[in-house]
Amino acid sequence: MNEPALREQVAKALVNKGVRLGQLQLSEEAIAVCDAVVSRYADAGEPALREPVAKALLCKAIVLWSSDRRGAARQLLETLVVRFQEDQERSIVEIVSAARAGLEELFGESEESARNDRA
């Protein structure tokens, strides 16, 4: 795909589609769309395409979390943070901050679960 502006629009539209599939509880379909965004645009340098990639990762993590696959969700959130933490784009900074918040929640749950186990 050579067309830059249309490529951005496609990436954004696909992310929205992934979110909608997630809302419809169609987890596997949502994950497939998010994966498609990441695999297609992962190497893109322009901010307009980095943002959809970051969103697709976050969306997939949320879907995994909702499907009770917390380990995979946590791994993905960590990947997201490591990959985009240096990015200064405002929208991406927000996504990274949401991912960090998600990680804190997941760590909190793990610790609570461990405490419950010990008790």
Partner: protein, 583 residues
Amino acid sequence: MQGLSDKHRLREELIRNLRGDKTPITVPADSTTDLEIVRFLYEERARGELLAELDATVAAPLRALSDDIHQFLDRFYEPRLDDPIAKGRARRDRDRGVASLIADVAADAFRERESDLEFLDRFLGDLSGAGPRHRFSWTLLTGPGGQGKTRLAIEFLARAKRHGFHHAGFLPMAELVPGRSAQTIDPRRWRPRWATLLVIDYPSQAPEAVADLLSAFASVAAQEADGYGFPVRVLLLERQAEGEWWKTLVPATGDGELVKDFAFRPSAERIDHPVSPLSRDALLAIMRGRLGNLPVRDEGLWDALVRVDPNPLAAGADGRFAPRPLFAAAAAQAVADLSRGGESVDSLLGSLGRQGVLKYILDREREHFWKPGAAGRALELHENLLLVATMALGLSRDRLETGLPGFVRPYLPSLDVFEPDRYQRMAGGDPDSELRRLEPDILGEYFVLTRLQSLRSGGARQALIDAGLELGGDEAGVFLIRCALDFPDAWRALDHCVPTRSAAARAFAAAAVDLAGALPTERFDDLDAIVSQTEALALEFDDVELERRKPWRWSTRGAGSASFSAARKRSRSTTRSFRGTAT
């Protein structure tokens, strides 16, 4: 020593100069030249040097004076404001002697708008003690199409004039968007000469231009020393305060914060003022005004109205269903007209449906205003032009002369066939300068979709879709979004109005992104279809022009924020639900 021939030439050149031919004298004088001639030459040169010196002396002040004159003229520029009902459509009614639904709106009962008007009165404010900073403010009225925003604004214009806002009216897009007309408002240089109220209907049509206007007004007003000498108010009318247009208007930057500082808000929590839905009584009063003395029970009227406008978006503050005034007027007008054919009012009311009412109104406009005197294909071609202009949310008249793409020319009137009077009867305004869209917008959407469906030639249909999207650009994208939300079946039946040309694909893709965030979840099939179509278009076209478009423009139109916030909300709710499970 000067020869005779040289003397002769010198004499001739001097005579030519004396007669007015001011060519340079090329033959030099010497000791043999007559003293009279030498003196003349000396005076001429001295005069020339003096004039050059004078020129140099006055050049700078002249330039300054010229700048002053331009600035002075700029200050005298006033945006051309209009009244969408008083101009255009009302005039054609007088000519024809037939009432139009739209022109007659001003005669409908205007009730229960006290709280809205009170809000707007406060927006105008007490002018006596206002300092420069307080001389500018803007506000936003929101409500679904047909809820009465425009009517409210029209009523408010008269009120504003009584309060001293002598320059008050609707600001046409042609005055606002650079390139749309010979002179557009330059918000950084314009200074009001009177208290001014500008109403902008549907700013989502040109969010960048409106954002620039508000930002410039706010910057000028923020300069305490030389802010506005007269109060300036900007009233925006839009469906809702969200979406990409809103993010463009008040971006999350310093500019956006400054613009927000000048917003007149109904409360600290809310930036827009939703136009209140009307009560059953007020809606019935509108219907009764149209029906005249026809005998009909309130229950029958109300049942018909609820059937015509089953729109949950118009639910009242108390949660009860509240149909829109536009449909009350339209339904009653249809019944009043049809009952003259002898059919009973009850039977007519029983058979009314939303699309039936819109169809009736459109047919009526066509029959009384569009069709008379149309020869051959004239009506068809003018309807096609109205279709394209409606999709593009209005076009400059120049487009008809130079800007029409070749592929659509066979389906539109050429310059020698175009009839400004007919177009004026169709859409109002002044077709010599602009080609307006069909309003109100719901009627315009219905017209475009049904007109496209009625075309037997698939080639014509596609050419008109492509032309509308290409000429309208982002505005056409906004139109497409409204069609998809207001008339989903008709939009789907037209294969979602997918374009086949590169420039049109850009508008479609922008609409697809917004729609992917706005369509209800149960309409996932539509979402899936348009996203797939956008992917296919992106694969098909390789348009270098797109690369030159500013990246920020596209980044502000992204799907991202809406879905992102949805994702974050979901993230929070997911977190909460897991917490619940854990404990």
